[in-house]
């Protein structure tokens, strides 16, 4: 008798409270049904053997999914995980980088700057790891709750997705055989934006006239900054706007993955704004530090400052024009590829 009760409790302790008693009762009556009125321990063992492993029996009764995230959500889970991981790592690194650069208060030598950047990279790496764990944890939790809440019991699938038809393929314009804008390019451009913005805003400590007054890199000191800080900061709203446009464009590029006429046009607008702002600032005489100009004049007395300005402006303008044209070129090419692909497929 004891054997039977032990078996029953082995099963029911693995079941939810609600159904425990009922199943225990049913099991008990079933087992007694299977036994003759006068039975030996051997006969009890045989009957229990027929019912099998109590763990297995309990799992049959439970009928709960034996997975955390089922096939229904698996793909979206992986996709969300990847996107969330990328975005959060980039965002956290950018924030750390900007923050680090703004609060940077070493002396002006290149050496301390390098050491500082090394340290910053390490920090960024570590924070990326932490952020990745966080993202993994929370995304997984959310998906487990989705799975457990029973949303996956088929109804989303039938309700949300209309029955598939070949005409759906025409809607898939975004799907191109090959991604044309490498992700690395986008990340590099984000990184580049961060770097120039930080250097520009810290220019009074970084760019300017350096003179050697000691040994090696540590002896290199900033004698005169290039810009007049007050005037430079009066441009800040426009510069920040430019940064926002640049970041926005990079993110847009990342998601669209290929060149389109819209992207090429946005690229054109961006370059117009940036070159315009750049030339405007370049020709603003009050922007430059007088001390710097004096030092420049002493070193190269025969070259007028105007010459520097126009050379730099021309180089920037030429590069921008090349970028704009190449944008439209790529959009054109990608369009042709798309059309061919649509026709063939």
């Amino acid at each position: 008798m004891n054997l039977i009760e032990t078996y029953i409790s082995e099963v029911t302790q693995r079941l939810p409270e609600k159904i425990r008693n009922d199943i225990a009762m049913e099991l008990r009556s079933t087992i007694e049904d299977m036994l003759p009125d006068q039975h030996t321990d051997k006969e009890v063992e045989d009957v229990l053997m027929k019912l099998g492993d109590p763990v297995k029996l309990a799992s049959e009764y439970n009928n709960k999914p034996r997975y955390i995230i089922g096939p229904m959500f698996y793909e979206s889970y992986i996709n969300v995980l990847i996107v969330a991981a990328i975005i959060s790592v980039v965002a956290s690194s950018l924030i750390l980088f900007v923050n680090g650069m703004i609060t940077f208060e070493g002396d002006k030598s290149l050496f301390t700057l390098m050491a500082f950047i090394g340290q910053l990279c390490l920090k960024m790496f570590l924070s990326s790891l932490t952020v990745l764990f966080q993202v993994f944890f929370w995304v997984t939790i959310v998906f487990i709750m989705l799975e457990r809440s029973g949303v996956s019991k088929g109804d989303i699938y039938t309700r949300k997705k209309k029955t598939w038809s070949p005409s759906d393929l025409y809607q898939l314009k975004k799907l191109v055989p090959k991604r044309q804008i490498p992700k690395a390019e986008v990340f590099f451009s984000l990184f580049w934006t961060a770097i120039w913005a930080i250097i520009l805003f810290n220019s009074s400590e970084m760019i300017g006239w350096y003179e050697q007054s000691g040994k090696g890199l540590e002896g290199l000191t900033l004698k005169a900054p290039l810009f007049n800080e007050e005037v430079l900061f009066s441009y800040a709203p426009f510069i920040v706007l430019l940064i926002l446009i640049e970041v926005g464009l990079a993110i847009y590029k990342f998601f669209i993955g290929r060149w389109t006429y819209l992207l090429a046009s946005l690229n054109l607008i961006y370059h117009f704004i940036s070159v315009g702002l750049f030339c405007f600032m370049l020709t603003d005489e009050t922007l430059y530090n007088k001390l710097f100009l004096e030092k420049l004049y002493i070193t190269v007395p025969n070259v007028p400052a105007f010459w520097f300005v126009s050379t730099i402006a021309t180089i920037v303008a030429v590069f921008s024009i090349i970028e704009i044209i190449s944008g439209f070129n790529k959009a054109n090419k990608s369009n042709t590829v798309m059309n061919q692909w649509m026709k063939n497929g």
Binding site: M25, S29, G52, K56
Partner: protein, 106 residues
């Protein structure tokens, strides 16, 4: 090889077990009597599969159940519900069609 055959056989039989159980519940049966009836008809089903299956079918509202405590041993009786009757009818039809199709091919 034999393991593969075993798992394929189980898969093939899985759906038919439900049908077999439904067919025997036109009259109220308790767990063990149902197991015996199935055995008499040479339907081999593990008892460890049968009892949980009954509960699942009850949850899906194909079966109704009732405890009979009048005798010295309380027993839980299962019976096809109205909905269960309808489902059984359709499954039976499906089974006839499928077996006819397969027989003509095999």
């Amino acid at each position: 090889m034999s393991e593969l055959i075993f798992s394929l056989k189980t898969e093939l039989r899985r759906g038919t077990l439900t049908l077999a159980v439904l067919s025997q519940l036109q009259t109220p049966q308790y767990g063990y009597s149902l197991a015996q009836r199935l055995e008499e008809n040479n339907v081999s089903i593990d008892q460890s599969t049968l009892y949980p299956l009954l509960r699942r079918l009850e949850k899906q509202e194909l079966l109704t159940s009732e405890w009979d405590t009048t005798e010295n041993r309380p027993r839980k009786y299962y019976l096809l519900s109205e909905f269960g009757q309808e489902v059984f009818k359709q499954l039976k039809e499906e089974w006839h069609n499928t077996s006819m199709q397969l027989n003509s091919m095999l």
